[in-house]
């Protein structure tokens, strides 16, 4: 009547037999189709990239993602579980560059963009069999036969639709992103390149005097190590919680006193004023300075919009300078950020070769770093210089040619997320986060300080930015294309089977509806995080198909990924959902902690303390591994994992199995005698 209870092939063997039975009897598909016509419970699978091998952290996410849908099916819900693959982006390109033994955009262009993009496409599923095997072995039931793939034309078309929605709402704009830039090579450098070239150099620094508007003889003091950025100054930055002071200083002599009033951080008065006699008139919190207007320091170039006032920045410190930072938004990452947050406008007075533009009359055409001395002289003449001195500091240089780098504004496309800040925060407050601290902490804080999302990438393998600009400079009309149909209507001789990738899409020109001339596509692709953040609708090729399916499955009731996704997928889902649908696309989010080794150390290749996910599943088995992740600690805390302690978990749950099998066998033997 009952089958003999024994594990001839151990737990792993039993699991393989069970998996075989599921396949033969089509159990997984039957589970997907259970409760058809009943209420939906929706789960979104965050797409991994299959051009790299899965690691043990992926087992954790799969195990957590799996349990809730299974439970909800048992509770009578219909649960759709579409797998997804994230396929675009720089990591894919870098992998191909490595394979081809080339490096950088110049060499890619030389190799041929079409060939390069084809290689990228071929590579994205290099390890897909490993992913599928792991997914099957761990028992994660997700529809891998009909996955969404971010490079498919249908998917890209949905992403284009999303971009067009934003375009129409006025959320897409072209702006500047400050990046480290080598004026000799004419290229921007990525952060890891910059890190290679720091050197100690002696530079001329100065403290400039910014005259307070409407007050005679009162100046705000600010220090800079790059005097050449002073013509582009647009704001001064204080820390609102620090103590500042207004002092009356005698810059004349004892016999012939000459008084000026200065504003600077209280703790730095002695260092800055040095020998100059002074008395403190009053002290106050930085808060009180916010909004103070001052006169523009140097009159070159035309500034429009909000500028020349005191703003707040958390990053202002009292370690050196005056406790007040001069802000030139074009030439510093911090400067650019704090200016954007405060709505300060933008000006760039330096050309791509690192020379002043013609508006900076005295030094036009000269390399900016060579003008530091002259700028200080000019300031002194205008009574705008407090002091100058040579200063030794660490400054980044180009690792290729040793030229000092400049921070330089690069033209970029942005989504104006800062306009949606309140809405983002409000929407997020309706989400149930596990643990709840993420809602107001890590994620909530991030949203409160959200800045505009730079979405364009000057690369090759990605969703092309669907914005065309009229080639006629006087016209300059721009169009955002939101579907293949629209592309064919407005484009000139668009091939029937157009693939929405570079270089094919770059050959498509539109006819300008304003002036009738040719329009050319912006050359950039977009951030691949925009792709994955679009999955709630793009996985269904919405709105071009599956309208009902989307309506029934938006928002998701459940998502779960590792904690680093607060800056990644959790954010892009929230951002796109808020911009397009006015809500967060998920209701419950279980945030997962990282997986550590048995001793609580981070797993790393160099330490060799990583656990191979396949070895884990092949020796200890899926059930024990799953149970370990469920019981070891709350999902959001780090999980300690090693073959040994998963084995211990197995012993704990299946304590007496060996004993029982032994008794069973002996009884069976007895009865057969």
């Amino acid at each position: 009547m009952y089958k003999k209870v024994e594990l001839k092939n151990g737990f792993v063997g039993m699991e393989q037999e069970v998996a075989k039975r599921w396949k033969e009897k089509n159990i997984i598909k039957k589970n997907f189709e259970m409760n058809k016509g009943k209420r939906y419970f929706t789960f979104y699978d965050g797409p991994p990239t299959a051009n790299g091998k899965p690691h043990v952290g992926h087992i954790e996410t799969r195990v957590m993602k799996d349990i809730i849908p299974r439970y909800k099916v048992m509770k009578g819900y219909q649960v759709i579980r579409k797998a997804g693959w994230d396929t675009h982006g720089l990591p894919v390109e870098l992998e191909i560059e490595k394979q081809l033994g080339i490096s950088g955009k110049e060499q890619i262009e030389e190799y041929g963009v079409e060939k390069f993009v084809k290689k990228c496409k071929e590579s994205v599923f290099s390890y897909v069999h490993m992913w599928e095997e792991m997914t099957n072995k761990v028992g994660f039931w997700v529809d891998m036969e009909h996955p969404y793939v971010t490079y498919h034309n249908e998917y890209i078309e949905s992403v284009w639709w999303a971009l067009k929605q934003m375009w129409e709402k006025g959320l897409l704009y072209e702006g500047h992103k400050v990046m480290p830039y080598c004026p000799r090579c004419g290229t921007a450098l990525s952060s890891h390149e910059v890190a290679q070239g720091y050197k100690d150099v002696k530079d001329l620094t100065c403290i400039a005097k910014f005259k307070v508007k409407g007050e005679d003889n009162t100046y705000i003091l600010a220090w800079t190590t790059t005097p050449w950025t002073l013509p582009s100054n647009l704001a001064l930055c204080v820390n609102k919680s620090y103590e500042y002071a207004r002092v009356k200083a005698n810059i004349g002599t004892d016999d012939e006193p000459k008084y000026e009033e200065y504003i600077l951080a209280k703790d730095l008065i002695d260092t800055v004023l040095n020998e100059t006699p002074y008395e403190i008139i009053k002290t106050f919190k930085g808060e009180e300075l916010l909004g103070t207007k001052y006169e523009r320091l140097m009159p070159f170039g035309n500034v429009q919009g909000k500028a020349f006032e005191v703003i707040h920045g958390d990053y202002v410190t009292l370690t050196d300078g005056t406790g007040i930072v001069h802000i030139a938004p074009a030439y510093g990452e911090d400067d650019s950020l704090v200016a954007k947050q405060n709505g300060i406008t933008f000006i760039n007075l330096v050309d791509k070769e690192g020379k002043f533009v013609k508006e900076v009359e005295p030094w036009a055409g000269r390399f900016v770093r060579d003008c530091n001395e002259d700028i200080c002289k000019w300031l002194a003449k205008e009574n705008k210089l407090f002091s100058k001195e040579k200063h030794l500091h660490s400054y980044p240089h180009c690792w290729r040619c040793d030229t000092p780098l400049l921070y330089y504004p690069k033209e970029s496309w942005f989504v104006a997320m800062s306009k949606l800040r309140d809405e983002l925060v409000e929407n997020n407050n309706k989400v149930n986060w596990y643990p709840d601290t993420i809602r107001t902490g890590r994620f909530g804080k991030f949203l409160e300080n959200v800045i505009d999302w730079g979405i364009s990438r000057d690369r090759y393998w990605g969703t092309p930015l669907p914005i065309w600009t009229c080639e006629d400079e006087n016209c300059g009309h721009q169009e955002c294309i939101g579907s293949i149909k629209e592309l064919k209507e407005k484009g000139i001789d668009v091939p029937e089977d157009i693939e929405l990738h570079k270089p094919y899409i770059d050959n498509v020109y539109l006819k300008c509806p304003k002036c009738g001339k040719k329009m050319k596509r912006a050359k950039e692709v977009i951030d691949c995080w925009f792709d994955s953040g679009s999955m709630p609708f793009a996985q269904w090729h919405y709105p071009f198909e599956n309208k009902e399916m989307f309506d029934n499955n938006f928002p998701a009731q459940f998502i779960s990924e590792a904690v680093d996704q607060t800056r990644g997928w959790f954010y892009t889902l929230t951002a796109i959902g808020t911009a397009l649908f006015g809500r967060t696309p998920f209701e419950n989010c279980v945030v997962l902690g990282h997986v550590l080794d048995e001793k609580g150390q981070k797993m790393s290749k160099s330490k060799g303390n990583g656990v191979d996910p396949m070895v884990l599943l092949d020796t200890v088995g899926a059930d024990a591994t799953r149970w370990h992740f469920y019981t070891c600690s709350s999902p959001w805390l780090p999980t300690r994992l090693g073959l040994k302690n998963v084995q211990e978990t197995r012993k704990r749950i299946f304590k007496y199995i060996v004993e029982c099998i032994f008794i069973l066998c002996s009884i069976c033997r007895n009865r057969s005698v």
Binding site: V5, F558, A622, T631, R669
Partner: protein, 394 residues
Amino acid sequence: MWNVYSFYVLYAEIDQFNPLEYADFKSNNVMDKWIISKLNTLIKEVDEKLNKYDITGAALAIEEFTDSLSNWYVRRNRERFWSQGSNDEKIGAYVTLYRVLVSLCKISAPFVPFITDEIYQNLVVNLDKKAPESVHLCLWPEVNEKEIDKKLEQEMDLAYKIVKLGRSSRNSVNIKNRQPLSKMLISINTLPEYYADIVKEELNVKDIELGAEMSKYVNFEIKPNLPVLGKEYGKLIPKIREEISKKNQMDLANKVKQGKQEYIDIDGTQIELNQDNLLITMQGKEGFAFSGEGEIGVVLETTITPELEEEGILREVLSKVQNMRKEKGFEVLDRINLYVSENDKVEKIIKKFEETIKHDTLANNIFYDEQKEGYTDTNINGEILKIDVEVIKK
């Protein structure tokens, strides 16, 4: 879970028990009612927790239930499964265990999908061709509120907890469960007789005293944890020691062990004492073994009188003989001859309890100091006795 499952299949197969024939059977056994009540509570709890995404809480609830099931329910009911023939007690045990296993299997399925489906195939699909073909095509089991009896659960859980503490007391002084002890002292004031009897039987003690004052039997040693407390209050340590010693040691130990804080004042400095900065050891005084958890303290009297020693030896002999039957592969109902040799002390006791031994081990004869081959040296509570058993051919 697997072990309970194989236990069930083992006996159900021997008895050719088919639970489908007893679908409406109602068991009145207290143990059955208890585990069914707990099962309903568990189904509800796991449902509520998963619904709130408390995956870990749900998994730990299942783990705790599994412990009660295998280490308490099955353990306490073995004899009902072993009993001969068919009777209500036995049917009740089967029906109950079957139902518990099938439900447990279903609610565990989202957690451990492989082993639960394997068990489900054998328990359900093999018997009931109309059942869904996989546990993963089943719906969540229904909760029957009428079967939940909170009072019963609490009392039985308490008895089980006391037994667990008693076992750890025995372990702490290295006295096997087979050695009977005269008395057990428990700090709580009430325990219904039904449960007291279970506790006595499980822990092999003659008598239970409730409401015992623990400090009479237990030494508390409470010391500052120097690496923690010393770092902050280095110089004050001697004074802290003095203050600690002035406190009621039992109260302080209990309070701190429950994660609460106690405050002392030294020269105007208020110092918090807690689990992290104190080292607490609680040990039974000479002649007593202690274990405690929260409010519950359990003390065993460890003095072994000559009578208790004899009884201990008897139990040990019985166990060794049963083991030997098993090792030699005898059938459960085989009659045997028992040979013992070369230990006068133990043999004297065997003679004294000869009838009991014959009855329990199905021995027709016991032979003393017979010259023969095949003896095995056996350790009986420190005494070496030669033992052998042989089947009496029909």
